[in-house]
Amino acid sequence: MNPWIEKQRYIIDFTISSLLRRKVKNIGLLALYTLIVFILASTMFFTYSIKKEAKLILQGSPEIVVQKIVAGRHDLFPVSYIDEIKAIRGVADVESRLWGYYYDSLVQANYTVMTPSRVVDTSQSNARTTVVVDPNDPHAVNVNKPLYDYDGAAPEAGSIVIGNGVARMREIGTGDYMPFMSHDGQVMNLKIAGTLSSESELVSSDLILVNGTDFRKLFGIDDKYVTDVIVTVKNPSEVSMVASKIKKKLHSSRPIIREEILRTYDSIFNWRGGLMIVIFSAAVLAFVIFAWDKASGLSAGERREIGILKAVGWETSDVIQMKFWEGAMVSLTAFFSGVILAYIHVFFTGSAVFEPALKGWSALYPNFALTPFVNAEQLTSLFFLTVVPYTVATIVPIWRAATIDPDTAMRHTGE
């Protein structure tokens, strides 16, 4: 065999035996390193996936939502406005919505109560919103799904469909009755006709779908009013034009276009991502301290060993090579274990560690598994954030120790 290859084999063998000789120290080092990679990778996977998930869900949100504003605040929307909007050129369809919040004092949670939007097939217009998606993206099929997704029909009067969070919190399910206190103090017992699919739990966890009649009865809303309306536009490029026409025609209205909604949601997720960045920075800082500690010196035993190797005829480059392999083995093992653990943590355990701080914005925490989104770019940045600095940090003290005169090594290697 080629002497060069044989030499590398000897060096690697010796490196492995060196690692095993300092078992306790190296296992400790590996555990700490893996933990740091785990935190960094979890943060990265989580932030990226939640943003992507949210983006996919929100792509299916309406083009324009029109609300009525009174004294700068959201007010009930008069049904009479609908025909005025329909008359605007470029508007394909106007659909009214009924939604609101209900506070459940029993579990101290706020539910989002709404009447389901009309099934697309019943829409009066043939115009459809076109969303351009990457055909290779396996999640593209989800784009046209509404914010919530359930298998049954719209709830009949007296029945409701609830989100998984509500079901968990109240410990109820299909067939059970759920009591509500209506606006006039009367108790309304509504039967649960079904629960929402857990796929959309990020947005449907706290959702309760009710029939329009029940909704009006519960909140005391007159038939002349709805909460707001959503407008479909024939030509997607005219969305902002139609929005400005609505605003011009109905002065007390506030049209909100999808881009604005997406922007708002994006900032919410960025805020959550910001929290993650704080954790991320702490992890990076821990890593820097750890690498610096490693860089600041070798143990007396390691120094002695380098001295002996130099004295028996190893070159500086052989010693550096050996220590390089040692660093590479530790960091690669830690990198792969950390990444695999983070993957399991984020995508299989639903980020058990970060969940409480990041997902919930009410007493109802959505319980959903993020769809794995991991790309080469993420892994590369993680690699350059962890393995490379560690390897570089360890080479410096080794180079310093390995370049000493063998004479000095010979004199100072006494036990």
């Binding site: 290859i5 028996v312 005829g313 006494g414």
Partner: protein, 226 residues
Amino acid sequence: MIELINVRKVFNAGSPSEFSAINGVNLHIHENKVTVLKGPSGSGKTTLLSIVGCMSRPSAGRVKLHDREITSLPERFLTDIRRKTFGFIFQQPNLIKGISVLENVMLPAYPLGEKRAHLKVKAMSGLAGLNLTHKAASKVEWLSGGEAQRVSIVRALINDPSIIIADEPTAHLDTTLSYRFMEIVEQFKAQGKTVIITSHDPLVYDSAIVDDVVNLRDGKLEGRPT
């Protein structure tokens, strides 16, 4: 064989703690002879030995090995010469703990990339030569002082060097083991090797197998080699 011409070695040059360990030494070490560098502590024996063995460079002067000037060679070449020409036996055995006797013995040969099977045979025959075959698989921390010393001798011989350098080899050995060491030196000589030893042990420099004794004091040669 080895020639030192006006060699000087200064430590911490330019600083207040500067001191001169070797002051203009001229020395000729002959092939296939046993030479002892003798002198009190601090006389510069080990410094001179490390210059002879290419472990450090002189501050001034020249060192020739087989009539080849080696003083100015880059570290890489110097290491190569050191590895192939010299075998080192230190005051302490300086074995690496946690690995076997056999691995310790093979260590100096690793950078040469010799075939493992050949290397193992060589190491085992070296161990057999010093009655250490049964210890090959043992961890070095289980060895007695004498055994550890012998293992370090086998290690020094693994690359079949022509010159053996020993720094105070009997300093930590009792009389019996010291005699045993001198017997081994005699074997080296019989094999045609050159041996250079530093020592202030009469058992070493008064031994019949020693050919030359070089007296050192304050970094200078004292009188002529006997």
